[in-house]
Amino acid sequence: MSNVIVVIGPGSIGQAIARRVSAGKHVLLADLRQENADAAAEILSNAGFEVSTATVDVSSRESVHALVQTATALGDVTGLIHAAGVSPARHRRQQSCLSICTAPRWCSRSSAMSSPQVVPAS
């Protein structure tokens, strides 16, 4: 079993941290959008890291739970990098998924969800 580092929202900040702490470990890259996870996987794989990808909707407990199962199946989870986030500019047109901010009251999930990242949930 390997040690697993889970990166949620593997944008440039998530990747920067992952590169510093993941040598010799397995990196599980999870994003709301598979193509974002794939893009990060290609970069980190080319940089010598052992990677796999998953999708996750951080506003859904079931989805997060499924990610936990995927991670634990890979090995011991020794690190979590939660770097998913949207800016206030994008916040207006996208669903916000921080646990205190999950409601469509503030912003509704829209089809214009083009962001490479999603908002942190705790």
Partner: protein
């Protein structure tokens, strides 16, 4: 998320959550509000009176509250993670040159952000690698005594906002 991973994190493990300087721009909340944001079960948070639409002025305020809540919830989770021999911390970055930041710099608040960069003590935005360095400290053995903490990393924007040239007039 922290709850779920807090159930499986390995002994000696660590987590880091990226929040935002925005949470530091919000005035102090009451002790009761802090406790409510930190400890209310995730599924019940939206029922809190302080988070009702008439209490939240706009999307920026919502964002600030969500980031403040983030740091508070990490602090509360650090207690649970500690019981498993693990640690968890928050980094609150300011303007970091990511694709997201580029959106902001060209978005409706772009001018305000450029002013922040110009007038903050560091006089520039940050790079993802600089956040990576702090993340590595917090997740590695050198950070073994750090948990439940929030690291503001904004080139001094918040300092200038509170006590310097960026203070609201």
């Amino acid at each position: 998320m922290l709850e779920e991973f807090g159930n499986v994190i390995a002994a000696g493990g660590a987590g880091v959550v990226i929040a935002s300087q925005s949470g530091h721009r919000l005035g102090a909340l009451t002790a009761e509000e802090d406790a409510a944001l930190a400890m209310t079960p995730a599924d019940d948070l939206l029922a809190l009176p302080m988070l009702q639409p008439d209490q939240v002025t706009d999307s920026l305020h919502a964002y600030q509250l969500s980031k403040r809540g983030n740091a508070l919830r990490v602090m509360a989770e650090a207690v649970r993670w500690g019981k498993r021999g693990a640690r968890v911390n928050t980094i609150s970055p300011g303007i970091i040159f990511t694709p997201l930041a580029k959106d902001e710099l060209t978005g409706p608040r772009g001018e305000g952000y450029r002013r922040m960069i110009e007038l903050c003590p560091a006089g520039r935005g940050g790079t993802p690698d600089e956040v990576g360095t702090v993340g590595a400290l917090l997740m590695g053995p050198d950070g073994a005594f750090i948990t439940g903490s929030d690291f503001l990393m904004d080139g001094g924007v918040t300092a200038a906002y509170r006590f310097g040239e960026l203070a609201p007039r």
